[in-house]
Amino acid sequence: MPDLLQQLLNGLSQGSIYALIAVGYTMIYGIIQLINFAHGDVIMVGAYVALGCALKGLGFIPSLAVAMLTCAILGVLIERVAYRRVRPVSRLAALTSAIGVSLFLEYIMMYFLGADLRTYPAGFFPERTYSLWGITINNKDLLVLGTTLVLVLILQYVIYRTRTGKAMRAVSFDGQASQLMGINVNSTVAITFFISSAMAAAAGLLYGIYFNSVQPLMGLMPGLKAFIAAVLGGIGSVPGAMLGGILLGMTEALVAGFGGSMYRDAVAFIILILVLLIRPTGLLGKGVQEKV
């Protein structure tokens, strides 16, 4: 029994990281129906920026703030340069452009900083381990879970309780109509990228601390997994992304912990295929009828 609980806890912290990334995916998809494949790489940039701050001697919170701000600006820039002009043309063009941005970020980092594994300086995040009823919990687990919860709650507030959020929902519902109503679609999309990229940076720092390693391709796998989580929860839905991320993390931990460590990734992708076949709108997604 403690084994099972421990495995679920392992999955919960891994899943919270997925959730944080998935939220960013889902917001962008919600507003412009683009699967932003560069999202995973914004995470990586965030982890590097925070690492740079840490090496300069900044503490945890200031590093987080700098990384979030830098990536938020990077996100807006990516949207402006790589997506805005191709968006009206076709979804496929924007998707291709997203893959291009992803590769660009990976290899530009590799070119300037090398492909070496880097680590956060010792003592950047003081670690502690607690033991309860045969289960061990690290304060990193709590940090990851707490940060994800807080950020998702703030996001829910922004989306449902503010004017900006109202504009975002309007644009995601019908871009052209909201433009006719006087909403500036481009700036609303820019704000969405700003927020989702800032969250990606937070995820990057958490991921980097959790596994104590930073390298140019670190965003690739978690990015893909978070995409699965977003689809599982219902792409476009923020609570769905949170739920999908945690479910995926727990499933993976159980699979790996009970003899199937070689199939961990395979199971994740099988979930993706099954969701797409059986319930393409995901667990919490709304069934949208095709407009005629």
Partner: protein
């Protein structure tokens, strides 16, 4: 329209140039000129960058010393250094480039997989390869066809020697009887060590109570560790590369698993301490090719020279690289010529070559027979515990 024509024309020119560069070289495969060109093909960036970088540093130090003492056969050695980015495909591309540049021998890469990828290119060109650290048995010997790969020579011990010595040490000296094994299933080196370790350890009477695997891209190991720990082993054997071992040890200690953790030469990297944290590495052991604590003059002089040049203590990869370069120089001298095929013959007949990592002669499979060092980590520092001779 005109623009497209220009682009197409440019493409044709580029392709033509590429073809010319690709075909042109093969003819000049001799040691004409006043220097002896040697290919140095290593992992200077990427996943296992510290292995390749150390090997290269050791090699360049040795060549510098050799050239300062007048070179070999009156000629200076000219190392051509290339970075294969820890990618097998890139290692092969570099080997092809070396062939066209007319090198007399290729040193590297560090890891077995990359050496095996480049080998066909160099065997076809009849250029000998000296692999400082490729420990997988099949690098020099093809099990299926029962044939020795004539042009490959390694300087390190082979994997089964490492797992045998570790199994003996754990069972006889530490007296631990129940083990768990955790290997990287994507990596032949890791899988091979895991299999042979299990074989030797169970043959002695020990028991393997848990076996887990992971894939190279994994970063979360707590699920496997939880499962291993629930089977109550006395130790965990993790023969893998430092980038994963570091995370595994860190996560194990975070979960309160304070069992001894053992491994092999893939652990030897300064990054291991960074990744895992010095305290977490206490009660960890690994097998290696040499130890900086060895008091012999040859070893201590090498360490002094290396520290002076690079400001860091040489790890086993640096020592193996250093030996590799001197071995090549000795082979060229014995051959009396820097022609690749003569060097190959001289290497076959090398006897009792005295290196930093031990005395080297080749058995019939091009494998050196040498002692294995057992290293214990104490607060992130390596301590030599024992040297043991594997039985063949």
């Amino acid at each position: 329209m005109k623009k497209w024509v220009k682009v197409a024309a440019l493409l044709v020119v580029v392709l033509a140039l590429g073809l010319a560069a690709g075909c042109g070289g093969n003819a000049q495969k001799s040691a004409e000129g006043d220097t002896i060109k040697v290919g140095v093909n290593f992992e200077l960036s990427g996943d296992v960058a510290t292995y390749g970088t150390s090997c290269k540093n050791g090699i360049l130090l040795a060549f510098e010393e050799i050239n300062a003492n007048g070179g070999v056969l009156g000629k200076k050695i000219e190392p051509l250094v290339q970075d294969n980015k820890s990618q097998n495909r890139e290692a092969r591309n570099i080997a092809e480039r070396f062939v066209s540049e007319g090198v007399v021998a290729v040193l590297g890469p560090a890891v077995s997989g990359a050496v095996q990828t480049e080998e066909p290119v160099l065997t076809a060109a009849k250029i000998p390869v000296l692999a400082p650290a490729a420990t997988a048995p099949e690098v020099t010997y093809d099990e299926k066809t029962k044939k020795v790969k004539d042009f490959i020579f390694r300087v390190c011990i082979i994997d089964p020697d490492q797992s045998q010595v570790m199994a003996n040490y754990i069972y006889d000296v530490l007296g631990l009887k129940n083990g768990a094994i955790m290997v990287d299933k994507n990596n032949d080196y890791s899988v091979g060590l895991g299999e042979t370790f299990k074989e030797y350890f169970t043959k002695k009477g020990g028991k393997i109570v848990a076996e887990e695997g992971f894939v190279s891209t994994d970063t979360a190991f707590k699920p496997q560790l939880t499962s291993i720990y629930s089977k109550k082993p006395d130790f965990i054997y993790v023969p893998a590369y430092y980038n994963q071992v570091g995370l595994i040890i860190k996560q194990a200690r975070e979960m309160g698993i304070d069992l001894p953790i053992m491994g092999a030469d893939g652990w030897d990297s300064p990054k291991l301490v960074e990744l895992a944290g010095a305290d977490n590495l206490n009660n960890c052991y690994f097998t290696n090719h040499y130890s900086v604590e060895d008091p012999s003059d040859l070893i201590q002089n090498f360490i002094k020279a290396y520290e002076k040049k690079y400001n860091t203590t040489p790890d086993a990869f640096a020592a193996l690289g250093y030996d590799t370069a001197y071995l090549l120089a000795k082979a060229i001298e014995q051959a009396g010529s820097a022609e690749p095929e003569k060097i190959q013959q001289a290497l076959e007949n090398i006897e009792d070559f005295e290196g930093v990592t031990g005395k080297l002669s080749y058995d019939e499979k091009h494998n050196p027979i040498k002692e294995v060092s057992i290293i214990k980590l104490e607060n992130g520092k390596q301590k030599l515990i024992k040297k043991m001779q594997p039985k063949h």
